[in-house]
């Protein structure tokens, strides 16, 4: 991993009066969120959070509703004032920034896309997209030409003079996306941007984000409560519960070795063959395996290995990045992987796309 763009250290957000005492007080910070609510009336929305986001990475924060995702992502630009801790952006602590520095951070480094769009109803699409540029004082002509480019990029060409309430939800969110992109920030923060959209539109928009990520290479922090969305988009996924990090890792790590029963439960419905790579089912090379058996890379998705393995007369060897043989797989181990979960969910073409688009995005 290259050097982190965002480093979060010991971050706390405790809502309620007296919340600022909680992180520093061993007696209080040791209590669970429920106990804290009981004893002090404070809501611990983010609890002692630590993670890094690398440049160009899509970092997904996932959790059930109320687990503190929105609070966490807002703490990054201090739309919600954190209670304590550090948020380092390019090495500078956002929490120590003054008004002007914070404003500059919001104007140039980090933009946000919101669940409910937050468009200005009295402005046209063009004026909404150029809003951020106007705020930072870009000349009218320049911001218009830049905004027109962005509008084309997010697929809204021809709608420049429309008002938000004349657009469908998906198109409104494209405007929201355009507004975030217009300022050419290093990082884009998404707070459940597609939760309010229809499933079909949502899929289009996810593909759009993947495309934009590939084209522009921006760092993205993406909040969602939808596991399939998280697996589809995320290079790494952080799972939250009651304000705490439960596990952090790549999609196949979460599915392959869930940290606890909570996560295991979470991922139990996932068709494992679509997410896991051969690495997770590779066993030791058996004595009878011929040395000229077919070889697959350990990063191949199980699903993609099925045709070869089922067609081969012998087990298939698995090689790591350096070409060294790690072990072997056979029909039984693949069937076991498919049947251990999701067997009652025959993979749909849409689900196949999970793996495929992930690879093209990465």
């Amino acid at each position: 991993m290259n050097s982190p763009v965002i480093s979060v250290r010991n971050l706390w957000k405790v809502f309620g009066t007296g919340g600022e005492k909680v992180p520093g007080n061993a007696g209080l910070s040791g209590q669970s969120s429920a106990e804290l609510l009981e004893s002090t009336g404070c809501v611990t929305a983010v609890r002692n959070m630590n993670f890094d986001v690398a440049k160009g990475e899509v970092f997904v924060v996932m959790g059930l509703s109320g687990s503190g995702k929105s609070t966490l992502i807002r703490c990054l630009t201090r739309l919600i004032e954190p209670t304590s801790g550090q948020v380092l952006v390019d090495g500078r602590d956002v929490l120590q920034a003054g008004t002007v520095e914070l404003r500059e951070l919001r104007r140039r480094k980090m933009s946000m896309v919101f669940q409910h769009f937050g468009l200005l109803p009295h402005r046209t699409v063009l004026d909404n997209v150029s809003y951020g540029l106007q705020i930072r004082g870009t000349a009218k002509k320049e911001r218009e030409s830049r905004s027109r480019e962005i509008i084309e990029l997010v697929g809204l060409k021809g709608y420049e003079q429309h008002y938000p309430d004349q657009l469908s939800g998906g198109m409104q969110q494209r405007v929201g996306l355009g507004r975030a992109l217009a300022g050419d920030p290093d990082t884009i923060l998404f707070d459940e941007p597609f939760s309010a959209l229809d499933p079909l539109i949502r899929r289009d928009m996810q593909a759009e984000v993947i495309r934009l990520h590939k084209e522009m290479g921006k760092t993205m922090v993406f909040v969602t409560h939808d596991l399939s969305e998280a697996l589809k988009l995320g290079d790494r996924i952080l799972i939250m519960r009651d304000g705490e990090m439960v596990q952090m890792g790549s999609g196949d790590e979460l599915v392959g070795s869930p940290a606890d029963s909570y996560i295991a439960d979470f991922v139990s419905e996932v068709p494992r063959a679509d997410v896991l790579t051969l690495k997770w089912i590779t066993g030791p090379v058996a004595a009878g395996t011929p040395s000229d058996a077919p070889v697959l890379a350990s990063t191949t998705l199980i699903r993609d290995a099925i045709p070869l393995v089922s067609g081969a007369s012998s087990p298939v060897l698995v090689a790591d990045g350096g070409g060294r043989i790690m072990g072997q797989i056979d029909r039984d181990s693949i069937l076991a992987a498919i049947h251990s979960s999701g067997s009652h969910h025959p993979a749909t073409p849409g689900k196949v796309a999970v793996g495929a688009s992930k690879e093209s995005a990465a």
Partner: protein, 671 residues
């Protein structure tokens, strides 16, 4: 078995609480009954003693010292630094703005009759403005109405009224919108401003006049200042409300882009609150017109002045003619500002029939035409001063007077006997019940009732108000005003319940009545007196009827909203269990709308009180009479000022008691 066990403590607690409630209800009822009994006994056995009656021409020491204060101010106006550096310059500044608009629309201040813009120019300019801020319809309305003022022979008076309204609204917006914005942005400002506005809005317009005349002398300047004070609350409130109701996610999105506070205000808060702010401008404008006409009492020129003079000489015809002018002006101001608020709606710009460019061209062409007409009216006499031979004002007045005379003669039997029987049968006995009971008995009864409704705190506020009224030396006059107000509010509430229930239950009736009620609410208080003066002559009864008609719309609307707001499921449940419509109304809808009814009574009382005191102009006695007399005779100035204060205390008292009644749940704990 297990359930029974668990149920037991609940069962045990059940009767206890119910008994407690019953005891508390009975305690409250007992207190109220006790207060009533005390009052009746005091009336029966101590009748006529301790009434604190003060004949109209007599003064107390307090009134005399207020008189002295008045003359002291008159003498020291020139030398006192507060006057020299603050109040007099303020008066001068306001006066010169008012003078400017009066000169533009009505007449030049040099005494020449010809205004800067003649009538034709004025009509043209106002029509153009109505078109620019509103639409073609309201522009035509403006043109027709302002020309009609000329036919009424009232163009100059109407222009004076309009000039004062414009001045006052301008200053109101200048002060009110920034204050509203501050209150919208900062919760701390909001916390300070809200109670002040609440207090201002419980005061009848009338009471601002005397103290302002004391400080700023009579004339247009004080009229404008009084109007600004009276008209500011709506626009402050609505501006703040508009900013506060911007969705949190929009604001957050704007913040996430790094807006400064000023940018947020300019690009987000003001544009998004625009429609609400313009609605505030509408309400403030209507309040301003109402006050400008009443400010005739402190020598503000205009239509109100014509009405006051006509009322004092009982010239019903002239009063109606001029009252009609006020009504028309109210309609124009309301329609134009409403059209403006619709234009301010976010979607209005693109749904308009004219595109921005065409509209601009049309507006410019119309402006050139307007300027041409202004030029004409500056050069041609008939376009400068409305031609006398087109003046049908006297004909209107004469016709109305004749009709009123005819009505009063031919319907004498009806109107007079109705008025007489109500006055003798109800009004007089009820008033004497209040005025002839010893003050200490009645005050104690009121305080006990307040304690029953709202506990110690309310009892303390009530006692304080009563003590203030007593020490102002105006107990008896206050009771006269209170008697009229209470009778009026009883009728208002009957109307409110009857029509409110009808409207709440049927959307057809609601649609039919609401426009009338809305129109009724925008009319200046003043004009309600005029038609009833024509019917019933000058007396208390006329004032009470006018107060009823003035206050009914607000009470009806609040009641209707309360009834309509009851969950349909509850009504459905009642109907499906076989209730008759009457049972649904009396057993479900009215009890559930109880709080709404108390709120309607609260608002209705404020309207009634405002009108009953203005009713002094048509012969209602009491505090209003003292106030009006104070304007006219300097020897009773102090008494008038004291009467204004007494009205304020009476208003606070009635407001707090009805509010407490509205807040109190049916089973309220007394503690």
């Amino acid at each position: 078995m297990a359930t029974l066990f668990r149920a037991r403590p609940v069962l045990a607690a059940g009767p206890g609480t119910t008994a407690g409630n019953r005891r508390r209800i009975s305690r409250r009822t007992a207190l109220l009954l006790g207060a009533g009994a005390l009052w009746l006994l005091g009336y029966l056995f101590l009748h006529g003693t301790g009434t604190l009656a003060l004949p109209a021409s007599e003064l107390t020491d307090l009134h005399r010292s207020l008189n002295h204060f008045n003359s002291w101010i008159a003498e020291n106006r020139a030398g006192n630094p507060v006057f020299m550096y603050v109040l007099t310059p303020l008066r001068g500044a306001v006066g010169s703005v008012a003078g400017f608009f009066m000169a533009v629309f009505a007449a030049s201040p040099t005494g020449q009759v010809i205004p800067v813009m003649g009538w034709l120019g004025t009509v043209a300019v106002l029509t153009w403005v109505a078109f620019a801020v509103g639409n073609l319809r309201v522009a035509l309305l403006t043109a027709v109405v302002f020309s009609f003022f000329g036919f009424q022979g009232l163009f100059v008076d109407a222009a004076y009224t309009f000039a004062l309204v414009v001045t006052a609204v301008l200053l109101t917006l200048l002060a009110g919108i920034p204050l509203g914005v501050l209150a919208g942005i900062s919760s701390r400002v909001q916390k300070v401003v809200t109670p002040v506005l609440d207090f201002m809005q419980t005061m009848p317009s009338f009471v601002y006049l005397a103290p302002l005349a004391l400080v700023f002398l009579i004339g247009p300047a004080s009229a404008v200042i009084a109007t600004v004070i009276f008209a500011a609350p709506p626009v402050i409130r609505l501006t703040s409300h508009g900013i506060r109701s911007i969705p949190e996610n929009t604001r957050e999105a704007s913040d996430s882009l790094g807006t400064t506070g000023w940018q947020r205000l300019r690009t987000l808060q003001l544009p998004m609150a625009r429609r609400t702010i313009v609605m505030g401008i509408n309400q403030s404008t209507m309040a301003a017109l109402s006050m400008v006409t009443i400010a005739a009492l402190i020598a503000a020129p205009g239509l109100g002045q014509v009405v006051v003079v006509a009322l004092q000489s009982l010239d019903v015809g002239t009063a109606v003619n001029s009252g009609l002018g006020i009504v028309l002006m109210a309609i124009v101001l309301d329609r134009v500002t409403t059209a403006a608020s619709q234009r301010a709606e976010p979607g209005a710009r693109r749904s308009g029939r004219l595109s921005g460019r065409t509209r601009f061209i049309v507006l410019s062409a119309a402006l050139i035409l307007t300027l041409g007409l202004v030029q004409v009216s500056r050069t041609v006499m008939w376009a400068a001063v409305f031609p006398q031979n087109l003046n049908v004002g006297p004909a209107i007045s004469g016709g109305v007077s004749a009709a009123s005379d005819w009505l009063q003669t031919n319907l004498y039997f009806l109107t007079h006997s109705f008025q007489e029987s109500v006055t003798i049968g109800i009004l007089n006995p009820f008033q004497s019940l209040l005025t002839d009971t010893p003050f200490f008995v009645l005050a104690a009864a009121i305080a006990i009732a307040a304690f029953a409704v709202g506990g110690w705190k309310l009892a303390a506020v009530t006692s304080f108000c009563l003590a203030a009224i007593i020490s102002l030396g105006l107990w008896n006059d206050t009771m006269v005003t209170l008697a009229s107000s209470l009778l009026a509010i009883i009728v208002v509430m009957v109307l409110g319940v009857v029509f409110g229930v009808a409207m709440g239950r049927s959307s057809r009736i609601d649609q039919a009545m609401r426009p009338m009620l809305d129109a009724g609410q925008t009319m200046p208080a003043f004009v309600y007196l005029v038609p009833f003066l024509g019917l019933f002559g000058a007396n208390r009864f006329t004032a009470i009827v006018a107060a009823i008609i003035y206050a009914a719309p607000v009470a009806i609307k609040i009641t209707a909203d309360g009834i309509a707001g009851i969950s349909p499921t509850v009504v459905e449940a009642a109907v499906s269990s076989g209730s008759t419509p009457w049972q649904v109304i009396s057993k479900v809808q009215l009890p559930m709308a109880r709080k709404t009814l108390a709120l309607a009574a609260n608002q209705g009382l404020m309207y009634v009180l405002a009108m009953v005191v203005i009713g002094a102009l048509v012969g209602a006695g009491g505090l209003g009479y003292d106030v009006v007399a104070g304007f006219v005779q300097s020897s009773v100035f102090g008494k008038g000022l004291a009467a204004g204060l007494a009205i304020v205390f009476l208003g606070i008292l009635l407001d707090r008691i009805t509010q407490a009644a509205a807040a109190a749940p049916v089973r309220k704990r007394i503690s």
